[in-house]
């Protein structure tokens, strides 16, 4: 569910990052006031734990494996506010230090996996355990929380993808980012999550929680009980508002493109909507469709090609010069 860069428009990324700022600020405040100061390092170590959770390959039927996100587990263990910070930091490390998940899309990834998932999961877990006090009820609560929260987060990610063709189009109607509408992105994202990933998440969450409860019951009963009721409104509001926020910058994008509509029609029409687009699509001249773009001297195209060609050659030779075992180790 880690969205890479260029799948979402910068406007979407900006809106979702802006939505995360108050959540992060509130999380920090809540963690400071509700969690004992001595637990501060636990946030960092919780983030490390959250990062490592995604490294476990969980067995699936038939010998294949999958990995869990773990946000609901961490929310159940440390509370939703601490989980929000821990998962955010884990996502940040993945994006910046491991190149996994986009940097511009960091806000969007946090929104899905560090906000929607832990808070919704914790809400479901609390809602059930507050009403039914038994071991079975607690297990059921975790199953429901992990399954629903993961799938809901996937749905939100699908909506983010599916809105892209609506809000960010080139002036000639071509998609600039994720090209699939909601009718494609929602089933494509939710079906695998409903059928496989949801169960991976459930097995992991319930299994680890049950283990910790059995081995060290004190830790779970000592867990601080964050007051969550007041923020239901905020969460529901933000979730409802987020698609609106995504749509709002869309008009600005449309206007921006419309200014240049003349340019597009003259310059780009032959490259655009041709049914035999495949022929043009994968030939190199796509990137250099017209050396004489207004204001760019013709020679720059050649300079660029030369520089690119030289760089590619150097890279190839450096790779060839690499000792064989080194390439393997770097994996």
């Amino acid at each position: 569910m880690h969205i890479p860069d260029n799948y979402l428009s910068p406007a979407t990324c900006a809106v979702l990052s802006a939505a995360m700022v108050p959540v992060w600020a509130l999380s920090v405040k809540k963690v400071k006031s509700e969690i004992d100061k001595a637990n501060l390092p636990l946030l960092g170590i919780g983030a490390a734990f959250s990062f490592l959770v995604m490294m476990f390959n969980i067995p699936l039927p038939g010998g294949t494996t999958g990995h869990a996100v773990g946000a609901v587990l961490i929310a159940a263990l440390l509370g939703p506010w601490a989980a929000c910070i821990a998962v955010s930091v884990a996502l940040f490390i993945q994006a910046l230090l491991f190149g996994d998940g986009g940097i511009l899309a960091f806000g969007a990834n946090c929104f899905n996996m560090a906000f929607v998932m832990p808070f919704l999961g914790y809400f479901i877990y609390k809602f059930i355990t507050d009403r039914f006090k038994s071991v079975k009820a607690e297990q059921f609560a975790l199953v429901a929380a992990a399954y629903i929260a993961l799938n809901f987060a996937a749905l939100i990610a699908a909506i983010e993808f599916g809105l892209q063709p609506l809000i960010a189009k080139a002036a000639d109607g071509m998609p600039l980012y994720c090209p699939y509408p909601l009718s494609v992105s929602v089933p494509a994202m939710t079906i695998p999550h409903l059928l496989v990933a949801g169960f991976v998440e459930v097995f992991f969450t319930v299994g680890v929680f049950a283990f910790i409860k059995k081995v060290s019951p004190g830790i779970i009963s000592m867990k601080p009980e964050p007051k969550i009721k007041g923020v239901y409104g905020l969460i529901v509001g933000l979730i409802c508002l987020s698609p609106l926020g995504l749509l709002a910058p869309g008009t600005a994008w449309g206007e921006w493109g419309a200014d240049e509509i003349k340019n597009v029609v003259t310059g780009n029409a032959p490259l655009g909507f041709v049914p035999s687009g495949m022929e043009n699509g994968f030939s190199l001249n796509v990137l250099f469709p017209d050396y004489a773009i207004s204001g760019v001297p013709e020679w720059t195209g050649y300079v660029l090609s030369a520089l690119a060609g030289a760089s590619i050659l150097i890279i190839v030779f450096k790779l060839l010069a690499l000792p064989r075992k080194h390439v393997g180790e770097r994996a």
Binding site: S9, L96, E260, G277, F282, I314
Partner: protein
């Protein structure tokens, strides 16, 4: 005739453990191993030999991603791609291998995802999206493999990121390596004991992850005590001075040129 060896020891052993699909242990071990090799290579003390200052690299890569993502001009995308290629060409072979491996995987994945869209008549935009993704991923991956982890928190401090976040980030980075080692030893233990059929694989894995959590809780308490003993007040100061040499100047100049090209070119 009595050799002193008990008879049961002389009988042929005919024990063949039943085969089991437990690839999840090996795969988990592999993920942890690759993580730890990264942590050892990048996560140690700052050597000062890591090339360009992390602050410049992070700002530049962020700007580059933003420009690429915003740009609708193919010429700009070609320029940015060439710039990234040129920077890549100046790097060490080990970095290149890591970067190209990731960008090849991401390119393949993105192409597969966009294939239906490309076949339905939007091949050109789909191709541009793939190119954008490759450039962005290569740039980020290059920063990620060429930056020492400890220099990132200093860079974040300069970017005015709140103290609490940097503290959490810093602790997380150190403990990713520590807890990773711990998890790896448990996985090795599980691997050694995995003979025959394991009826409850999830229990085995839950045990490891659960123990990992308990261990991390314990480490957090010890760490807080140690921090308090040393008079930690919660403030994070970057004592290192900003390095501004040839590499930093070249990177700044290159980014300025890219921004100028981006502004200068029409937005189509």
């Amino acid at each position: 005739m009595d050799s002193g060896v008990p008879l049961w020891l002389l009988a042929d052993e005919a024990y063949a453990p039943r085969r089991d699909k437990d690839a999840f242990i090996d795969r988990s071990i592999l993920s942890f191993l690759s993580l730890l090799s990264r942590a050892r290579a990048r996560g140690g003390k700052e050597t000062g030999k890591a090339g360009t200052d992390a602050f410049f690299k992070i700002v530049a890569v962020f700007l580059l991603l933003l420009l690429i993502s915003l740009s609708r001009n193919r010429f700009f995308i070609a320029t940015a791609g060439t710039a990234v290629l040129a920077v890549l060409a100046s790097q060490r072979g080990e970095y290149l291998a890591a970067v190209l491996k990731t960008s090849a995987a991401v390119a393949l994945f993105t192409s597969l995802i966009l294939l239906p869209s490309a076949l339905s008549g939007t091949a050109v935009p789909a191709f541009i999206i793939v190119v954008k993704v490759i450039i962005s991923v290569s740039a980020v991956k290059l920063v990620s493999v060429s930056t020492e982890w400890s220099s990132v928190s200093g860079a974040l401090r300069r970017l005015r990121i709140p103290n609490l976040f940097i503290l959490v980030f810093d602790i997380a980075l150190k403990y990713v390596a520590l807890l990773g080692e711990f998890a790896l030893s448990m996985l090795y233990a599980l691997r050694l004991r995995s003979v025959g059929r394991n009826a409850d694989k999830h229990a085995a894995l839950s045990g490891i992850a659960g123990t990992l959590f308990l261990k991390s809780k314990e480490m957090a308490e010890e760490m807080y005590a140690a921090m308090e003993c040393r008079g930690f007040s919660g403030e994070y100061l970057s004592s290192k001075r900003l390095r501004f040499g040839f590499r930093e100047a070249a990177l700044t100049a290159g980014m300025l040129v890219l921004v100028c090209i981006f502004v200068y070119l029409p937005g189509t």
